[in-house]
Every structure is written in structure tokens, then in C-alpha cells.
């Protein structure tokens, strides 16, 4: 943009017309004052809560302790982290593959057409709107008296739950998570697919390349960073999800967010509160690592498909 207007020398005269006695120093300080409400608000409701988690994770009865963080090594907590990571990884991979195929099907349709508009809006709802409602959707579908369960039992003689009621356990969670991971993939992967120019395909063809060569030598390498980045985002999304599990899982606390709930709500065991903070810190570390990877891959994507 116009670089001349960016230099302070040319900016200064404007306020001087109204208030000639003010110097440049006042102007900087006055300018900073304008951002005070924003930073004050964020400090209270974002930075302090984060600090509470970080400090709490290392706080004990009489000062600093590593006991909470060491307690993360206990069997049931390690198991919860393991299950959380496995659940997130599986649903992220399934969601990313299916979502990418669906996104490609959409991208071949006319941009701005009603099909794309409707599917994008629907994806937004399913990806981000409340895990509780989705849990109930699946209870209505394949719950004990759900639509599909009853239909299969009465008409085809198939019992969905012959091997136990899996909907309210990890397999059920994986199914419902997939239901919101695929739409999220559609949302985050569509822009990358839109960035693929038809000219690149034409160039491949005029050089004698086949469809297979186009996908493996041109489009594939171009899309790979975007795909991997989206995969990481999906992982973080599943790893952070709480509502679906809270509404669906009836017994025990199989995954980390539910363990944190347990630590928050139990008043029986003293010191549980700070254990909750240690687990929360563990979650932040995992999500921060994953999101850093996402940001780096995103930057790589922007080079060609931005």
C-alpha cells in the first residue's frame, strides 16, 4: 500500500491541526490508551485463567511442587491420555480422508452455486454447533430405541447391540466424532482445493501427462501440506472436544476432558483440584504442539495455494 502515508513524519500533521500543543510522545501514549480496554479484558478473562492453570499445576499445600505433574504418570491418567490421543487420531484420519473426497466433489460444482452454499452452511453447523445436540441425534438414530436400531431389529432381524451397548462407550464416541470431523475437514480443505488452478491441469495434459500423473506429481504434492495441516487441526478439534463425551458417555471417565471434569467436581479427595490443572496443562501442551505444526504447514500451503 501507500508507503508514504505510513511514515510518522507525514502522519503527525493531521492531529496537529486540531491540537498543536501535542508532541509525538503524547501521540504514542494516547494511541496506546485506545487499546487498553481490549488488553485489560483479555488479561482478566484469558491470561489470568491460563496463568491459574499453569501455576496451579505446580502448586501444592506449602508452595511449589512437582507432585501434580508427577501424578500425570499414574496409570489411569496415562490411559486417559492414550485413549484421548487414539480417539482423536483415528477420527482425524477418517474425517480427513472422507472430508477431502467430499470437498473435492464440491469443488467440481459451480462456485457460489446453491449446492456449495447449502453444503458449506450445513458443514459449519455440524462442525461447530454443539456436541450435545449431535449426541442426541445419535441416540435418536442408533440408541436403544433409535430409528435405525428398531428398523434393523424389526425388519431385518439384526441386533446392533448383540455385543453390548457400544454407543455410550469409545466406539460410539468415535462414530459421533467422525460425524463432526468430516464437515470440519470440508470447511478447512475447500480453500486449498479452490487454489488449484485449472491451468496446471491443462499444462500437465499439454505436456502429455495422464490424470494419474497429474494427481501424483502436481496436485498431490501441492495439496499435501494443506491436507496434513487440516489433519492436525482435526486432531486438535477432537482432542479438545468435551460436550459430546459429557452427554454420551454414561460410565467412567475414559478420556482426558472427562477426567478433568471428575477432578473439578470431586470434593472428596483433596489436591484433586490441582491435579485437574496439571491435566489441563497437559492438554494445552498437546494442542499447542499440534497447532504449531498446523501454522507451519499453513504457511507452506499459502506459498502455492494461498
Amino acid at each position: 500500500m501507500a508507503s508514504a502515508t505510513d511514515s510518522p513524519a507525514l502522519q503527525a500533521p493531521t492531529p496537529q491541526v486540531r491540537a498543536p500543543r501535542r508532541g509525538l510522545g503524547h501521540l504514542r501514549a494516547g494511541s496506546l490508551l485506545g487499546t487498553v480496554p481490549f488488553f485489560a479484558y483479555v488479561a482478566v478473562f484469558l491470561f489470568i485463567p491460563t496463568l491459574v492453570v499453569v501455576i496451579g499445576a505446580f502448586a501444592g499445600d506449602g508452595g511449589v511442587t512437582l507432585a501434580n505433574v508427577k501424578a500425570l504418570g499414574e496409570g489411569y491418567i496415562l490411559d486417559a491420555f492414550g485413549r484421548s490421543i487414539a480417539l482423536s487420531a483415528i477420527t482425524a484420519v477418517i474425517g480427513a480422508v472422507l472430508g477431502a473426497v467430499l470437498a473435492y466433489a464440491l469443488v467440481t460444482a459451480r462456485p457460489g452455486g446453491p449446492l456449495r452454499r447449502v453444503v458449506t452452511a450445513a458443514s459449519g453447523v455440524l462442525a461447530q454447533f454443539g456436541g450435545v445436540t449431535l449426541a442426541f441425534a445419535f441416540i435418536a438414530t442408533i440408541g436403544l430405541s433409535g430409528f435405525v436400531t428398531v428398523f434393523l431389529r424389526d425388519h431385518l432381524g439384526i441386533d446392533l447391540y448383540a455385543g453390548g451397548v457400544w454407543l455410550f462407550e469409545l466406539p460410539g464416541l468415535a462414530l459421533v466424532y467422525t460425524y463432526f470431523q468430516v464437515p470440519l475437514m470440508v470447511i478447512v480443505f475447500l480453500p486449498a482445493l479452490d487454489g488449484l488452478r485449472p491451468q496446471w491441469r491443462e499444462a500437465t495434459e499439454s505436456l502429455g501427462g495422464s490424470t494419474w500423473q497429474y494427481w501424483t506429481r502436481v496436485a498431490g504434492p501441492l495439496l499435501a501440506p494443506a491436507f496434513l495441516g487440516s489433519l492436525l487441526l482435526l486432531f486438535a478439534n477432537a482432542f479438545s472436544a468435551y460436550a459430546t463425551a459429557a452427554a454420551l458417555v454414561s460410565q467412567g471417565n475414559p478420556i482426558v476432558p472427562l477426567q478433568i471434569r471428575g477432578a473439578l467436581t470431586s470434593e472428596v479427595v483433596l489436591g484433586q483440584q490441582n491435579l485437574g490443572k496439571a491435566m489441563a496443562l497437559g492438554m494445552v501442551v498437546v494442542v499447542a504442539l499440534v497447532m504449531t505444526g498446523y501454522t507451519l504447514l499453513q504457511r507452506r500451503t499459502a506459498r502455492w495455494l494461498g
Binding site: 501507500a2 502515508t5 505510513d6 493531521t14 494511541s31 485506545g34 487499546t35 480496554p37 481490549f38 483479555v42 482478566v44 478473562f45 484469558l46 489470568i48 485463567p49 491460563t50 496463568l51 491459574v52 492453570v53 496451579g56 467430499l102 466433489a105 464440491l106 467440481t108 449446492l115 452452511a121 450445513a122 459449519g124 453447523v125 455440524l126 461447530q128 454447533f129 454443539g130 450435545v132 445436540t133 449431535l134 442426541f136 441425534a137 441416540i139 435418536a140 438414530t141 433409535g146 430409528f147 435405525v148 468430516v182 464437515p183 479438545s240 468435551y242 459429557a246 476432558p257 478433568i260 471434569r261 473439578l264 485437574g276 490443572k277 489441563a280 492438554m283 494445552v284 494442542v287 497447532m291
Partner: protein, 263 residues
């Protein structure tokens, strides 16, 4: 070449409709099942649109719906009051600060709501002390939750216009900073502001984690609670909420489109 292209277009059409049909069945089946489930026994949907009757039969649900609507409206207002002036101000006067503001706004993406709630508990002890324990106080936490989405929408709107030239023209004609923001810049980013507000409303209506763990109520908490006593009603409300969110986001995409074409 033309024949090749026609053949590929046909193949793509077949591929597109196959994929969309399969996906459509997988994604619409649960919604259809919700409709079937919630119409069993009858009377559920007529009760849902009869507000006095509904609030008498399910007082918790009515309270949750009202709380969510209040939270959505207040969060949208607070978010706009906080973000719009700051975003404009930083662009005009402190361009060096923009990366920091952007980083802070995107930070909530890396902090899961379940983690935020752990840290918010002591902060809300103070909120309780000063303002009280009303469910509307969740507005404070929700404003943080929607920051990344709202910031992206508003920032995109500001990038689409030449804020500096507009502001300099207005200042040159004797306008104060308040006039510049309210009467010059704001009307130019109207659709971005509307997008941010719509996204905020949709996100707040779907929030469960923080409300539930801070012992406050909203729509999702009420649905979850209702699921234990009246599954039919909770499924009906879930479906209604999903449809409402869908309509909101569809309207949003129409606004977004108008923004792009008018540019």
C-alpha cells in the same frame, strides 16, 4: 482436447453426485431419525411452539432458552464493542501492534474450553462476588471463545477497504476520532460486522462446556438435563437448534457473498 474436457466433466459429474449422495445419506440419516423420534407419541412439536405451555411443563428448558438468547445478544454486543474499535484503532494508529492483537485473538483456538473453564473458576468466584451468579455472566467467557472467529471476520472486512484513506479524508474535513469510527469506517464494514455477530450467535447457542462446569444454565445444558427425563422433547429441541443454526449460517453465506460482489 474439447472431447477430453467434455468426458472429464461428465466423469466429474458422476463422481460428484455419487459422493454427495453417499455423504447425504450418512449426514441426513441422524437428522431424519431425530424427526421420527421426536414425532413419536405426538404433541412434542406443538408443545415446542406453545411458549406459555412449554415454560409451564419444562421450566428448566424455558429458562435455558431465555438464558442462551440473552447470552448470545450480550456476547455479540460486547464482542463488537471490544473488537471493532480496537481493530480500527490498531490499523490506523498502531500498525506495529497488529500482529500482537491478531496473535491474542487467535490464542483461544489453542486453549480448549475444558482447560479454560479450569482457569476461569477462580475468576468467576470474583464475578459472583461483584455481579452475582446469573447465567448472563457467561457473556464474559463467551466473548473470549468467539474472539478468533469474530476477529477473522472483522479483519477481513477492514482489509477490503482502505481504512487509512477514509480516516484521513474524514479527519481532513474536521471529523473527530469517534465520528471517523462510527460514521465513516463502521458503515463500510457493515457486512463484516454482521458476519461476526452471526458467527457469535451461532457459537454461543451451541456452547455447553463452560456453562455446565460453572454451574450455570443455557440451551445446551437444559437439553442435556432434559435428556434424562424426557428424551423425546430433548431430541426435538436439539433438532430445532440445529435447524436454527443452519439457517443462521446460510444467511451468513448470503451476506458474505454480497460483500464479495460489491467490492
Amino acid at each position: 482436447m474439447a472431447g477430453l474436457r467434455a468426458r472429464r466433466a461428465r466423469r466429474q459429474r458422476v463422481f460428484r453426485w455419487t459422493v454427495l449422495t453417499v455423504a447425504g445419506v450418512f449426514f441426513l440419516l441422524p437428522l431424519a431419525a431425530m424427526l421420527e423420534f421426536s414425532t413419536r407419541g405426538g404433541g412434542t412439536w406443538s408443545l415446542l411452539v406453545d411458549w406459555p405451555q412449554l415454560s409451564e411443563t419444562y421450566p428448566d428448558l424455558a429458562e435455558g432458552i431465555l438464558a442462551s438468547l440473552g447470552q448470545a445478544a450480550l456476547t455479540a454486543l460486547l464482542m463488537l464493542a471490544l473488537l471493532v474499535p480496537t481493530a480500527i484503532w490498531v490499523r490506523l494508529r498502531l500498525p506495529g501492534l497488529r500482529p500482537l492483537v491478531e496473535f491474542v485473538c487467535l490464542l483461544p483456538l489453542t486453549i480448549p474450553a475444558i482447560v479454560l473453564v479450569v482457569g476461569l473458576a477462580p475468576v468467576y468466584a470474583w464475578v459472583n462476588y461483584f455481579i452475582g451468579g446469573s447465567s448472563l455472566t457467561l457473556t464474559f467467557a463467551y466473548t473470549i471463545l468467539v474472539l478468533p472467529y469474530a476477529y477473522r471476520a472483522i479483519d477481513a472486512g477492514l482489509s477490503a477497504i482502505d481504512v487509512r484513506t477514509l480516516a484521513e479524508a474524514a479527519r481532513g474535513l474536521g471529523a473527530g476520532w469517534a465520528t471517523v469510527m462510527v460514521r465513516v469506517v463502521l458503515p463500510n464494514i457493515r457486512s463484516a460486522v454482521l458476519s461476526a455477530a452471526f458467527l457469535t450467535v451461532a457459537l454461543v447457542l451451541g456452547e455447553f462446556t463452560i456453562a455446565s462446569l460453572l454451574n450455570r444454565t443455557n440451551l445446551q445444558v437444559a437439553i442435556n438435563l432434559l435428556g434424562k427425563s424426557s428424551a423425546t422433547m430433548s431430541v426435538a429441541v436439539s433438532l430445532a437448534a440445529l435447524v436454527l443454526a443452519f439457517v443462521l449460517l446460510l444467511l451468513l453465506s448470503l451476506f458474505g457473498d454480497r460483500r464479495r460482489t460489491s467490492r
